[in-house]
């Protein structure tokens, strides 16, 4: 028997097993779930073992003499001390290194890309729309500007949300709700796509009902 055919049947039966949860929790679903979790864990372990431990650390240090990688290996080994009660505190050192390095990189990129660039984009495009853009563009930019300002005001908690300030914050709440609604819509779209992928597999690859 063709191995691809066995693979397709196996995948189809596992897909149906996972989908059977829609009806109710059952043994078939539990078996498929356990297989999925086991294979995922095994896949990730093997991937990181060969990619990080072998290709990077072992080959790098032993075959290429790149001894600076030893620093990473030592930090990685220190992380594992968490498993041994008394010396578990050692794991804080590599953790501090990771937090520090990530914070150092992220602080600047977030400040420039997510703060400054966004302010620049909002104001600059607004000015461009005022000076020469069409009405549709201008309205769009105005909505973004109002949404940004009122949204920020909503998150300003040093002043009580009362009077005009409270009204503006309320507008900000509406903008946030619309944003969350749009995000939810996109999430629904994404989840439907996941199911669509599986249905396509069942109909096309397994049952061959459609091309």
């Amino acid at each position: 028997m063709d191995s691809a055919l066995i693979g397709t049947w196996l995948a189809a039966l596992l897909t149906l097993g996972i989908m059977s949860f829609i009806y109710k929790d059952n043994l078939y679903y539990k078996v498929c779930e356990a297989i999925f979790i086991g294979i995922s864990a095994g896949y990730w372990f093997i991937t990181y073992f060969w990619d990080s431990l072998y290709r990077k650390a072992w080959v790098g240090i032993v075959h290429q003499g790149d001894y600076i990688l030893l620093g990473g290996v030592i930090l990685g080994a220190m992380m594992l001390t968490r498993l041994f009660g008394k010396i578990g505190w050692i794991a804080r050192w590599p953790l501090a290194f990771i937090v520090g390095a990530t914070a150092g990189l992220k602080m600047m990129v977030y400040f420039t890309t997510n703060a400054m660039a966004q302010v620049h984009g909002t104001v600059n495009d607004m000015m461009a729309a005022f000076s020469g853009g069409d009405l549709y563009d201008l309205i769009g930019r105005l909505v973004i500007l109002i949404g940004t300002v009122t949204g920020l005001i909503y998150f300003y908690f040093s002043k009580e949300h009362k009077g005009v300030f409270g009204g503006v914050a309320k507008v900000g709440t509406w903008f946030l709700m619309i944003t969350f609604g749009a995000s939810f819509g996109y999430t629904v779209m994404s989840r439907m796509s996941l199911l669509l992928g599986r249905i396509d597999f069942l109909l096309t690859d397994w049952l061959k009902l459609v091309k």
Binding site: L16, Y23, T113, T122, M192, I199, K208
Partner: protein, 328 residues
């Protein structure tokens, strides 16, 4: 015996489906009839709800399942209008002269394939037809494998096969590299430092396509297919902001809203978001594939979701009225 009743139905259904004539495509008349029937069934559910008969969650699942499955057999063509953000993405690609080096970052895995694989295939087909040199990499372990699948599929097209594209000369797959955004950061100074060998263990220096490719300054365009972290956000924050590379992206729908601000601040050169973005991207590149089939199913399912939101609200009002009457 009753315990196994549903299993018998499921097995019987599978046998019937296996025995059905293939491929199973119904005529436009039958397609329209099926659509009307689906709509009528939803109206019946609404009426039942208004009369106080609440439906179970399994009915909702059944409707969603039908709305996603039936369009596969229908002979409908949905009109798709290319949105400005997808058009911008395509325009950026269209401006690239033959021989341009494009870095394709595949930052997703099989669960996101329904949304991103059609974009990957459309991109690859377009790049190969227009003689763009593609350098593939992935910040997700399974990304480069998804790229290989896309390449294998597009290489079956007669027009592309006739070009006799060669691995290492016309395209190369550098594989996966762990390290998330730090990989992008390091690539800003040295590609070979992060990818000393390609996915097949060939040394970086021995790959003809990579001759002279030291860092982002030797790359004309970056196309990122992303399903989350690390992905488009990191590419924009580091590759665009720090190294000034042009980045266009294809994203899953769930991630797209978080990336849109980069589009309006002109940090991102075009975005194809979710299944609709994928279908539009296929239209723009004229590489019609799965996304144009999927979009009909997705539109049907969205209509059903909207219908159930209305039905759910109707159920809420009915129960509210009932509890009010009881209280009175």
């Amino acid at each position: 015996m009753k315990k196994y009743y549903y299993w018998f139905i499921l097995i019987a259904l599978i046998i019937v489906l296996i025995l059905l004539p293939k491929p199973l495509i119904v005529s436009p008349t039958v397609s329209t009839t099926l659509t009307v029937l689906l709509g009528l069934a939803l109206v019946v559910v609404l009426v039942l709800t208004l009369r106080g008969h609440m439906i179970g969650r399994r009915t909702v699942f059944l409707f969603i399942g039908m709305s996603l499955t039936l369009p596969f057999f229908m002979n409908f063509q949905m009109p798709i209008k290319v949105s400005p953000e997808v058009q911008t993405l395509f325009d950026a690609m269209a401006k690239l002269p033959s021989g341009s080096k494009v870095l394709a970052a595949f930052d997703y895995d099989p669960p996101s394939a329904p949304e991103l694989q059609p974009q990957a295939e459309a991109f690859m087909a377009y790049a190969f037809k227009h003689d763009l040199k593609v350098i593939i990499m992935g910040l997700w372990p399974q990304g480069p494998q998804q790229a290989n699948m896309a390449i294998a599929k597009v290489l079956q097209q007669p027009g592309i096969r006739a070009k006799n594209l060669r691995y290492g000369v016309d395209y190369v797959n550098l594989g996966f590299q762990s390290g998330n955004e730090f990989v992008i950061q390091r690539m800003g100074t040295s590609f070979s430092g992060m990818f000393p060998r390609d996915i097949y263990n060939t040394d970086y220096d021995k790959i003809p396509l990579l001759n002279g490719v030291e860092n982002f300054s030797n790359i004309d365009f970056v196309f990122n297919l992303s399903a989350g972290y690390p992905g488009t956000v990191e590419w924009v924050q580091i590759a665009v902001d720090r190294y000034g590379v042009k980045v266009g992206a294809g994203n899953t729908a769930v991630q797209a809203p978080s990336v849109y601000p980069y589009l309006s601040s002109h940090k991102l050169t075009g975005l194809a978001g979710g299944m609709s973005g994928a279908a539009e991207f296929e239209q723009a590149t004229k590489e019609i594939g799965k996304a144009n089939t999927y979009i009909l199913s997705q539109s049907f399912s969205h209509m059903v979701v909207i219908a159930f939101i209305i039905i759910g609200n109707a159920a809420l009002f009915v129960s509210y009225r009932k509890s009010k009457q009881k209280g009175a």
